[in-house]
């Protein structure tokens, strides 16, 4: 595709509900990252996939957050029992080889999904 796409662009939900955020990376990119960006802050790392497996999930704040990438392409970030503090822009990025290839590959970011928990 032309770039990283994320759907939906905006999601409003009620406290306690379950949400799924989708990321379509650039075709052929093996690495995929999820970040969370709160208002006035820089992106905060959540999880990194190399292919289908989560290579580093150390940024997931708690067990309410989970992400999958079953076929090594599209990824879904899942948030259970949402809380008001989960409100943020969730960014997805992809890169050609990822962090383990031995070189720094540029991360291409999507436009993000703005999540609002009421």
């Amino acid at each position: 595709g032309a770039g990283v796409s994320q759907t939906p662009s905006n999601k409003v939900t009620e406290k306690g509900k379950y949400v799924e955020l989708r990321c379509d990376p650039i075709s052929g990119h093996t690495a995929l990252y999820w970040y969370r960006q709160s208002l006035g802050q820089g992106p905060e790392f959540l999880i990194y996939f190399q292919g289908t497996g989560a290579a580093d999930d150390s940024g997931l704040p708690n067990d309410r957050f989970f992400a999958v990438r079953p076929e090594g392409s599209v990824s879904t970030l899942k948030i259970q029992r949402t809380e008001r503090g989960d409100s943020a822009v969730y960014l997805c990025a992809s890169s050609l080889f990822g962090l383990a290839k031995g070189t720094y590959n540029e991360q291409f970011f999507g436009p993000g999904t703005r999540l609002t928990v009421l």
Binding site: G42, S58, A93, L99, Y104, Q107
Partner: protein, 111 residues
Amino acid sequence: QQQVKQSPQSLIVQKGGISIINCAYENTAFDYFPWYQQFPGKGPALLIAIRPDVSEKKEGRFTISFNKSAKQFSLHIMDSQPGDSATYFCAANYNFNKFYFGSGTKLNVKP
């Protein structure tokens, strides 16, 4: 503990002036320092990056200055233009691990 500290939070510069944004880091293992530019409603985009084995890198109007002993690096935007108005983030990374971002600087270039 915040791994990368960025300042100022906001910056107003006249067209044609020099914009300077500073970042400081704690972890001496960091070995890659990129700068990202973000426009409203868009994701960050890589602007320029540097490794600690050089003290300066220039790409067009954008320059990174790196001071390893002080654990600081900065972005200089020469001949700033209104189209440069955006939020800028510094970041750091080591040994191909996750990236740590600064808190961002909102730049406004006045025409």
